[in-house]
């Protein structure tokens, strides 16, 4: 009967994971979906602690799990630390947090494999088992390998996102990666084929070390801005590692949970690439860098641009009827969301109608702008999605672009040779005036020139977004 309840709990776990993922992919139900999955997870965890039984040797009696004190200790510790970290983290630092948690999962899978390996090695050493069970060994090695790659990769991704690790292209990196992969393969075959029984353990740990190296080298050269995509990919790796755990213990909830995440994560990775109009391969070998130079060269000196003074900007905006603010990555970098909200309020007091035009991939993670502006308490009705924004562009007097670049680049519509060709953009040229705030004429994420800056309608307002906005607000209060 206990075993029945255990299995039922696992079934509940699997079902809640499916439902949770399903609900997470619709805006209205997303939050509930997360809770549903969390509920299922709790059920599965407690069912395991209290109801799981195992045999020490084949004919021994079934026993409940021991060391409950340790287990609960670890659970409580993890819960407290995890909750605090997750609650305290700033909105904009969330992707790095996710990456860190993902790494923890990978490390967990790795540790499980190591313990199980030791256990098996011990049984062989003491003669309980004659030769290693190769099926088990395969699962252990694979779980350990993927878990380690995911762990190492996630830590690097985390470091990149919080700025402590800089992008680095290692010369001959591709080559080195191949060599490492080859090494892993050779060692894995030798371990699985039981070719050098005496060397099993060193070889096993050799795989672990190589896998860690691979994880590091795999993520290292990828541009910091591509990290969300990479994290999503590492996410699906950890999912697979969890699934191998499921094989190890014939545990269907680990299996469904792991594989679901593995496949959903892969699709999500691809979707994220598509939203940015890039291919996964492109992201992984970072070929944007290559195109950058070429495109930049072809376009250098694309024309002349005109600047606008803070004073003029304030006047133009104060006497406009409809203003649209288009935030981009620069706004997030400058952390200017609060002062931006301030600007909006000042304008509204003067009877100006202000809205925000939100491009789906503005910033560096999907929904970045929504999250950023929500943090500054900008009301939701003021955020227009791309289609809406483009529709009301015609009746907009002034468009103020704050640190956005690629998402307003007309090359996406006009220049088939451009690497961002085909990406939908915010069509700011339909508005009367366009004011662009950025610090220089440097390109944005995609590394390409933006013709918009040279258009007659456009005026440039150089400077750090936060500083400029502060002055602008001050000016406006005097107009």
């Amino acid at each position: 009967m206990q075993s029945f309840i255990l299995h039922l709990s696992y079934l509940i776990g699997s079902v809640t994971f499916i439902l949770g993922l399903k609900m997470l992919s619709h805006p209205e139900t997303a939050r509930k979906g997360n809770l549903v999955a969390a509920f299922g997870m709790t059920v599965a965890i407690f069912a395991t602690i209290f109801l799981y039984k195992y045999q020490e040797t084949r004919y021994a009696e079934f026993k409940h799990l021991g060391n409950l004190g340790w287990i609960f200790g670890a659970l409580v510790l993890g819960t407290v630390v995890g909750t605090m970290a997750a609650k305290k983290v700033k909105m904009t630092a969330m992707p790095e947090m996710v990456s860190l948690f993902n790494g923890m999962g990978g490390a967990c899978a790795m540790l499980i494999s190591i313990v199980e390996y030791n256990h098996m090695a011990h049984e062989i050493a003491t003669g309980v088992m004659v030769t290693p069970d190769m099926g088990m060994m395969l699962v252990i090695v694979l779980g350990m390998m993927i878990g380690t790659v995911s762990f190492a990769g996630s830590i690097i991704a985390w470091g990149k996102l919080n700025g402590s690790i800089k992008d680095k292209t290692i010369p001959g990196g591709q080559m080195i990666n191949f060599v490492i992969l080859g090494g892993i393969l050779v060692l894995a075959i030798m371990v699985l084929g039981n070719m050098m029984p005496a060397m099993q353990t060193p070889m096993f740990y050799g795989i672990a070390i190589l896998a860690a190296m691979y994880g590091v080298l795999f993520v290292m050269p990828i541009g910091g801005a591509d990290m969300p995509v990479v994290i999503s990919l590492l996410n699906s790796f950890t999912g697979c590692a969890a699934a191998f755990g499921g094989f190890l213990y014939s545990n269907p909830v680990m299996l469904t949970g792991g594989i679901l995440v593995g496949s959903a994560g892969t699709i999500l990775t691809i979707l994220m690439c598509t939203a940015m109009n890039r291919s996964l391969k492109n992201v992984l070998i970072g070929s944007f860098g290559g195109q950058k130079a070429v495109a930049g060269e072809a376009k250098v000196g694309g024309g002349t641009y005109k600047e606008i003074s803070l004073n003029d900007t304030a006047v133009v905006m104060a006497y406009a009827q409809n203003v649209m603010i288009i935030p981009g990555y620069g706004l997030a970098v400058a952390q200017a969301q609060h002062i931006c909200h301030e600007l909006e309020k000042v304008l509204e007091e003067k009877g100006v109608n202000v809205v925000y035009g939100i491009h789906p991939v503005a910033g560096r993670m999907p929904g970045h702008m929504n999250v950023l502006l929500a943090e500054a308490d900008v009301p939701y009705e003021k955020l227009l999605e791309m289609e809406e924004a483009n529709e009301s562009m015609g009746s907009t007097n002034v468009v103020l672009i704050l640190g956005a670049n690629d998402v307003v680049n007309p090359a996406a519509k006009e220049d088939p040779a451009s690497p961002i060709y085909g990406m939908p953009i915010l069509e700011v040229e339909k508005a009367e005036h366009v004011i662009v705030n950025k610090r220089s004429m440097k390109p944005g994420y995609a590394g390409i020139e933006n013709d918009l800056f040279f258009k007659p309608k456009t005026s440039m307002l150089f400077g750090d977004a936060k500083a400029v906005l502060q002055k602008l607000v001050a000016e406006l209060k005097q107009v």
Binding site: A38, I45, L111, S250, V261
Partner: protein
């Protein structure tokens, strides 16, 4: 070749699990394939929390460790902590992200 034979046996023994794997793959693809781009980050985060289910393995490892097997105990302890971080942190962070979206929805 022994290894291959054992893997075949493994496949047969876990045959139903293989079916589960395949169905799960398809299901994962189907469920996710139409998610709007604003939800990419929370979804990634939610999925991240779900693979924290690996913690069940950690609990089993820990629970089976003999009381004098310090290596296993320590590693298991660590594994449970890491797994918990993954699960709890993942769900809480996701909830916070979605709260942001949700808050705005209601007004």
């Amino acid at each position: 070749m022994d290894a291959i034979k054992e893997m075949v046996i493994m496949f047969l023994r876990h045959y139903d699990l293989v079916t589960v794997v395949i169905l799960s793959i398809f299901l994962g693809i189907e469920v996710i394939s139409r998610v709007p781009s604003v939800l990419h980050t929370p979804l990634m985060s939610g999925a991240n929390a779900i693979h924290g289910v690996v913690i069940i393995g950690a609990i089993i490892v820990m629970g089976k460790a003999a009381p004098d097997d310090y290596l296993s105990l320590v590693l298991g302890f660590l594994a449970v902590i890491l797994g918990t971080l993954n699960v709890v942190g993942g769900f809480v962070v996701t909830d916070r992200m979605l709260e942001m979206f949700g808050k705005k929805k209601k007004k």
